[in-house]
Symmetry: C3
Subunit: 369 residues, 3 copies
Amino acid sequence: MPEISSFPSPSAHPTSPAFSVKDLSDHIGGTVVGDSSRLIERCCGLESAGPKDISFVSNIKYLGQLSTTRAGCVVVGATLNHQSIYRPASSPLTLIKTADPYFGFRQIMVLIHGLRTHPKPLISPLCDIAPSAQIGNNCYIAPFVTIGENCKIGDRCVLYSGVQIMAGAQMESDCILYPNAVLYDFSRLGKRVIIQSGAVIGCDGYGFATHEGVHHKIPQAGNVVLCDDVEVGANTVIERAAMESTLIGEGTKIGNNVVVGHNCQIGHHNLLVSQVGMAGSSATGNYVVLAGQVGVAGHLRIGDHVRAAAQSGITSDIEAGRDIGGTPAMDFKLAKRVYLQMFQLPEIARRLRAVEAKLVDTKGNQKNE
Amino acid sequence: MPEISSFPSPSAHPTSPAFSVKDLSDHIGGTVVGDSSRLIERCCGLESAGPKDISFVSNIKYLGQLSTTRAGCVVVGATLNHQSIYRPASSPLTLIKTADPYFGFRQIMVLIHGLRTHPKPLISPLCDIAPSAQIGNNCYIAPFVTIGENCKIGDRCVLYSGVQIMAGAQMESDCILYPNAVLYDFSRLGKRVIIQSGAVIGCDGYGFATHEGVHHKIPQAGNVVLCDDVEVGANTVIERAAMESTLIGEGTKIGNNVVVGHNCQIGHHNLLVSQVGMAGSSATGNYVVLAGQVGVAGHLRIGDHVRAAAQSGITSDIEAGRDIGGTPAMDFKLAKRVYLQMFQLPEIARRLRAVEAKLVDTKGNQKNE
Amino acid sequence: MPEISSFPSPSAHPTSPAFSVKDLSDHIGGTVVGDSSRLIERCCGLESAGPKDISFVSNIKYLGQLSTTRAGCVVVGATLNHQSIYRPASSPLTLIKTADPYFGFRQIMVLIHGLRTHPKPLISPLCDIAPSAQIGNNCYIAPFVTIGENCKIGDRCVLYSGVQIMAGAQMESDCILYPNAVLYDFSRLGKRVIIQSGAVIGCDGYGFATHEGVHHKIPQAGNVVLCDDVEVGANTVIERAAMESTLIGEGTKIGNNVVVGHNCQIGHHNLLVSQVGMAGSSATGNYVVLAGQVGVAGHLRIGDHVRAAAQSGITSDIEAGRDIGGTPAMDFKLAKRVYLQMFQLPEIARRLRAVEAKLVDTKGNQKNE
């Protein structure tokens, strides 16, 4: 699609040291098929990978690309019948087979590229920290960060420029807050929480009591609690509770521009993809997946392991284990059949008219349209 | 759902002084049923409330919980037949009856917990205020705030850290801008306007004139006007007008991650819930409610008191007083019937095929599928 | 709709010098009908324009307003039959006719009001620029901006207050970044790129490998590239690629609160309207238009000149040149017919029951409901 030939090629990370295919395979407990001495420098998508790049296939949909890829090595599932893949004799594939190729490739990415590195510990003289705030050891606190009264910042936290921490907020160790993220007062973060830029944690819940034509603000006296290993995407908003806490369970990952309403209780290890919206006081179990732009009405219960397709509108409680889709959300298999028939609606209407016309002919009655 | 037993319990607000049930009832002009001397320290949700907590029921859907709640007192509607509620003799309910229990409870919340308190008036030496800007009395202006040339800030305004006010913007008294909120040039705020973190008021409208394959930016020479008592949620965006003003009427409350396009005219006391999107030049009357994720196309008129269900897609003018839902938006009652039938579509298709087959049998004709 | 009579009238831009209708017409190569000596001071919408204002009509839907407008001059299409418009003899219309009246009016807006002016070149002593960063000539860098190690800022760039540029990011000349915009490390911006407030460019992509019940973060080692003349709306998020680059092609304009997932490849001159969400690794051709709240699933290809109606849900590849709508997205003309029938669904169900009942009558069988 678009050409960027005239644009300087990006090089987000410095050139990595080379690893042999054998090294990489051993790292993930895999099995090499092909040339195990080949040197690999970079992870790359299958389509654009070259001879020094490693790539992966975890979805059978993309297996066909194995015939044409120029990648130096590809991580694949342990059960792949690699002899069924056509390759010219002059460019045999080198594969690493492993039970979970997506996770295996992730491990190799961490080995070659590493997770992001952060500046060395430092408290900038250009930040503003309240005298009563407690700052742990080995933190990096950038310019133009503010930390309010009575805050506690755990060891090794990284607070990038423009992060604003209001009074009474606390975070445990190893949290990373990217530029311009905001924590309102009394927010609580567990260990290793990551907040991307512009995310707002703990703003007032949307609560108004309408009386004699005026919407009166209801005090939002609760807070937000993010448990260990939560990640919150850029420009996402998590409202503080009116009373008690809005809670995001351990290991849950939230995308960008998501809104979680006040008093929601999100379980452990959920995935809330970008632009999901949850109204107030709804709760999810563990391992729930809400795909992009899903909306959830207020005061609902969504059971463990529920998966909702993108743009679903959830308007009632959902039992554990169900896959759902559509608006209002229904069983996912039903949704697919419903949408298939929806495309046929004009035709269904035409056929119904034809049937009615035939019945009139048959019976000599007026048709009832 | 998720357990947070291992997480330190939040205490967002200091322990309140205790009030007797009688004090609280008198405060809202209510009537006590039960022990009016009981002491209450905190407002709390019905499910988790304990003996020193007050809670409320305003929706008959939750009346059943009155049999099991451990709350020390519950605010309920004046007409509730409390003798119909089963309670063991050992733990009788204490109730406060009032005509509008939701608003009554709100008044009690304000009494016990108060609305948020802000830092004492102070102009931080770490902010940057243009020489020509006028700052009212008793303002709090935090570190890393900028206020541009010719701005006017009214008395008692609170500008938290990282707030950016571009040249020529003005606000009247008692406004609160949370961390990292942005006002573009020439924005106008009335009295008591609240802007949550990350909201952007007055960025350029999305206006381009496409000519010979290039989208040319149209100057956005207007501004945004927020009338008295408007509240704008976190990371919400209100575009400035191309010409004249984008207007948000008095008392209107806007949720998070909402987008209001350039030249929209929003009436008084509207509720625009999180993630609503309004395209340019549309207008709403007074007391309009747009629930979460509703989309409104451009150049439309939505009458007074219209209420649109979540995720509705509004593509035409809507008369005053209507309740609507669905995409494209239709009468709400019709929408409910339509969606009910939508679930049946595969069955409708099957039955239509059956009818067609019978007609073929009856008449000996080919069916017309 | 709402009244703002009690609110001070905004005057976002100073009074412009007056231009004669002839001057304006000559500026855009138009033809005057009426009084070419009339003086014009301001651009304005047709409804509120007065005798010193110029307005425009580019959509025949609004031609009727030409009978009542009080505008001093109106820019219209070259082929308009102006003699067919009824006007009282006492207030004849003055028109400028031109082939592309929307673009012509835009040219007049630029002449009268200008595009936004920015502060004079200056590097504030209150910003924080890493020693290794390179800053071009004649830049404006406001207070509380940070620029990380090894960044390159081209000539004449404007960085408003609170902008955060992480290490290794680069931009070419004449870029404008509004308050509190964020560029993550290694982002690349071409010439004349505009980033509205709160937009986040290059945050981590939403990538996790789930293994034994834990979502493991996948390194996001790529970056974001915005080509020349791209504009990004307020609080929009563009994720960095896991590997290689997320790319936004030349001249593409993105609205507010949009999310573009990691590794997307957006073509040239696209229009992505507010609240659009694109999942990872999808690609668009050139001149694609995605209207408000459109969702695009991952790994899709959308061809040149495709236009998707607001709230569409795109779940499969779309061929070049198609207009689409609905969820799942279908041909736009079909979508209109489908939605028309959807309104009729309760009626279709009733008629089907009636047909079934008649067949039972006719044949004496049980109906098969």
